[in-house]
Symmetry: none
């Protein structure tokens, strides 16, 4: 069974011109032509078109799609699986944006104003990275060419934009909860739990955060104004509160 351009266009919800274009650039050339030069698409062609549209949904450009589909090593199943994952990430990103809109709406309803930085957070994604990396660099100088630095380099170098949004929003959540619990004092159980999460967050995403490093990190939050300013966005005095809480945490977790 073969289909003419218009039929294919309708089935797939695209324009005839698009099919012409794909033919022209060699992305999707119909299996047969009539004697008059009319394009005739086979089922296989439709399958390929489906793939193309999937990849397009991921914002790959036509050239990239062509390369992928034409690659002899192209494994359809594996591609679709990767695909699936990427789509999930896209969804996560969308959800992050939705939350951001929600926040803006809240702030418009007279609740706390968002800080400039916070407004752009879903679009941002490099700031925390930079801070953490700078700290890692300073760690290096303090402790020599430590593993922490190398690990950080390794870990962060492979992160995608979506990864950063994820990490950022996690960090955000922890900061906010800490800010909300400041009144209970740095040794409060809930606070200590959050501090534990914070250390885990760093370990998961940056480098193996040992007790010593963690203690040093707390100090730095107060000593280095770049950190202080950033952290205090979530609540006045949060940086020094975190330092205290982190110190207590380290005292409790000494071997």
């Amino acid at each position: 069974m073969f289909y003419k351009v218009n039929e294919v266009a309708k089935i797939a919800g695209i324009s005839v011109r698009t099919l012409h274009h794909y033919d022209q650039i060699g992305l999707l050339q119909p299996e047969k032509l009539t004697s008059a030069g009319y394009r005739l698409y086979s089922e296989n062609d439709l399958d390929r078109l489906q793939q193309i549209l999937f990849f397009k949904e991921l914002d790959l450009n036509l050239n990239e799609i062509k390369e992928i589909l034409d690659s002899p090593s192209f494994d359809r199943k594996r591609a679709l699986e990767t695909h699936q994952e990427l789509l999930m990430e896209k969804k996560n990103r969308l959800e992050a944006i939705i939350r951001s809109v929600q926040k803006t709406l809240n702030s418009l309803e007279g609740k706390s104003e968002m800080s400039k930085e916070e407004k752009f957070k879903p679009f941002d994604m490099k700031k925390i990275e930079e801070h953490q990396k700078k700290y890692a660099e300073e760690t290096k100088q303090k402790y020599g060419q430590s593993n922490a630095y190398k690990e950080s380099q390794q870990k962060t170098s492979t992160y995608t934009k979506n990864d950063w949004e994820n990490i950022t929003s996690q960090a955000n959540e922890i900061y906010k909860q800490l800010a909300a619990n400041m009144n209970k004092g740095p040794e409060d159980e809930k606070v200590q739990e959050l501090i534990g999460q914070w250390r885990q967050h760093i370990t998961d995403n940056y480098y193996n955060c040992t007790i010593e490093i963690f203690r040093g990190l707390g100090d730095m939050y107060v000593a280095d104004e770049r950190f202080t300013a950033n952290i205090d966005q979530y609540g006045e005095g949060l940086a020094s509160f975190m330092r205290d809480a982190m110190h207590h945490y380290c005292d409790m977790h000494q071997e």
Copy 2:
């Protein structure tokens, strides 16, 4: 406090060139210029930029964004709420695609093959439109230059891509529910409710669907194979089931 291009670019995660471009097309013109002609952006400008980026995330083009933001009737809060809804729909569409990929994966694993139409369903979004428009045209010929046609032209001409996604997914939902309730017979209460929703859907999105037109539409679902084939995708025999249900509905709503 004012910011220079590079600062703004970094905060918002976009390029300087983009800011130049937005200035050029009048989408975002900085509040002040230095004597040397350097752009100086205010907090208000940053707010506007935030809006722009939000709308961009919805695939609105810069012109549309400009119109929305420049409209004196622009209500920021309402815009954001609409915004929020559109994002949700985009998410739904993504989820549909994810399910579709999942299905393809299943079929690759030897489970039941997907139908041609089913494969492309998530990408569609114009099909129903076309059918409805064609019907509107045929209505014109039957009833003379009826208002229905003109209304349809008017209504549909102003719809955006997102509107269509919206409308399509609504229609989809109704079809699916009808298909799920076919076993109860065309006169069942739930079915009749859905048929009412269907009429409302047409009235809301295409033209004022009177009882007579609605009855004719039911007939057409069976008489015209383009409709039949399309509708029966949702369930074998759905087209004629809908005709029966629509007839009953019209009988009950006769003045």
